[in-house]
């Protein structure tokens, strides 16, 4: 059986509240909080980017399981905000966790689902026996144009997963993907900020793909919503995943533990992987988890997994999502603009 050997996450300490962004752009914060179920979001430090976040998450994954990093045969980093247009983030991670030089590495891009696509690639390579362990990372310092609705949600953070056959903390029974070419979110080469389809991002994009992939995995492994203890969907805001849960028949108890977006924001490629990490932080052996990512209007990857006894041995060896969310430093919009490089000097 293939599954998760370890996981680790990282969240920058800075936060900005919805009220502060709304103050600058003249929006009603209560309307946004109610509409998006968002209260605050993480902001990277001046010297943090996708590479530093990916490294911190990867190191936490390695600390948690104590495997020799040289046994990791592949590292894939999914992100829509890689620091270089050409030059992989994955090699920076590989060097920083001392997994080099005998491994393969590459960067993935599929907006918010690049991290889950990296997990699937690692599963394939582990299954064929080409590698013992693979590391899949979803990390982002996502950007929203000043004044755009995305500013309320686009956050920073990342999660790393070590995929293998040994020392599993969760067995992945299967994975199922649903992909179309639906252009609801994009950023052209050289542009600083992404564009999106506004209201078009709902039904034909997020809901269609997330629901279809979730139904697909349940059909593939012959399960129904009540068979799962936890469910996590991509979290562009707090409202969308709750609506998917309701549509498919999942309860608030099932989705609640992994729904971390209201105080974290949308960490894009990290989003569903961070939610899964929050679930693994508390799930008991035998618990079943369903995770479905979503990216770029165009695709979702769904996974069905079962937690093993191994979780209890490693859970406390690295910070949990709840610990990473503690002690935030709140900043105003001016400092936020400086941190995000929105002020050209």
């Amino acid at each position: 059986m293939i599954g998760i050997t370890s996981y680790g996450a990282y969240i920058p300490r800075y936060r900005i509240k919805v009220e502060e962004i709304a103050r600058v752009w003249g929006n009603d914060p209560e309307h946004i909080k109610k509409g998006l179920l968002m209260y605050e979001k993480s902001v990277p430090d001046l010297d943090e980017d996708t590479a530093t976040i990916a490294v911190e998450a990867a190191r936490n994954a390695v600390y948690r399981c104590n495997i020799d990093p040289k046994e990791i045969g592949a590292i894939y980093v999914g992100s829509e905000s890689h620091p270089y247009a050409v030059k992989p983030t994955a090699t920076i991670v590989a060097e920083a966790i001392r997994a080099t030089p005998e491994l393969t590495a590459a960067d993935f891009e599929f907006a918010c689902k690049a991290g889950s696509a990296a997990i699937q690639t690692c599963m394939g390579e582990v299954a064929m026996g080409a590698i013992k362990y693979g590391m899949a990372i979803g990390a982002d310092v996502s950007q929203g144009a000043p004044g755009d609705a995305l500013e309320y949600t686009a956050a920073a953070g990342g999660a790393a997963y070590i995929i293998g056959k040994k020392n599993l903390i969760a067995e992945i029974e299967d994975t199922f993907s649903f992909t179309t070419d639906t252009p609801d979110f994009w950023r052209r080469e050289g542009e600083s900020y992404p564009m999106h389809g506004g209201r078009f991002t709902g039904e034909p994009a997020y809901f269609k793909h997330t629901i279809s992939a979730t139904k697909g995995i349940m059909k593939k492994v012959s399960t129904k919503p009540s068979d799962y203890d936890y469910v996590v969907f991509h979290q562009p805001n707090g409202k969308f995943p709750l609506r998917v849960a309701k549509t498919l028949g999942f309860s608030e108890e099932q989705i609640g533990p992994g729904l971390i977006v209201p105080r974290l924001g949308n960490t894009y490629s990290g989003s569903s992987l961070m939610g899964l990490a929050a679930i693994l932080d508390q799930a008991k052996p035998g618990a079943r988890i369903l995770m479905t990512s979503f990216g770029s209007g165009a695709g979702s990857d769904a996974f069905s997994m079962t937690v093993t006894d191994g979780i209890e041995k490693i859970r406390d060896k690295a910070p949990t999502i709840a610990e990473l969310l503690k002690n935030p430093k709140y900043i105003d919009y001016a400092l936020y603009a400086k941190h995000k490089g929105k002020i050209a000097v």
């Binding site: 590479a51 060097e95 920083a96 000097v345």
Partner: protein, 133 residues
């Protein structure tokens, strides 16, 4: 910075790889090719330092070079690693949080870049040890 110079420093900057003299057990960071105590009798090998240590002294930079002016004010400290060697590094904290004797741990951060089109330098900075992550 020339790209080869950056590239040669990656092990040192990313993972605090220094050296140890197996003859006198002297520990060195940054790495040395010759042991200054044992000279030709020294046997130098690679040694990774954990990165935890304490602040020996520090200063707060308010007026920085162009590459760092966006980060001011920032704390630059001499950190004594638990294993013994001392090095200069940035402490990521508010200036009023910094204290002599404060325990620190390493974090992976961006150290600088050669402008918007050049290479980005990554490496080790420090944060107060109590911080989670």
């Amino acid at each position: 910075m020339a790209v080869p110079r950056l590239w040669r420093r990656i092990p040192t900057r990313y993972n605090l790889i220094g050296t140890e003299c197996q003859t006198c057990r002297g520990l060195y960071f940054p790495p040395r090719t010759t042991c200054p105590m044992c000279r030709r009798d020294g046997r130098i090998v690679e040694r990774k330092f954990k990165g935890t240590g304490k602040v020996i002294t520090y200063t707060t930079i308010y007026s920085a070079s162009a590459a760092f002016h966006r980060q001011t004010p920032y704390v630059l400290a001499i950190v004594k690693l638990d294993e013994g060697p001392q090095l200069t590094g940035q402490i990521v904290c508010d200036p009023d949080e910094a204290k002599i004797g404060m325990k620190v741990r390493p974090v992976f951060r961006k150290l600088g870049e050669d402008g918007p089109e050049g290479v980005i330098y990554y490496g080790t900075k420090f944060v107060p040890a109590a911080e989670v992550s």
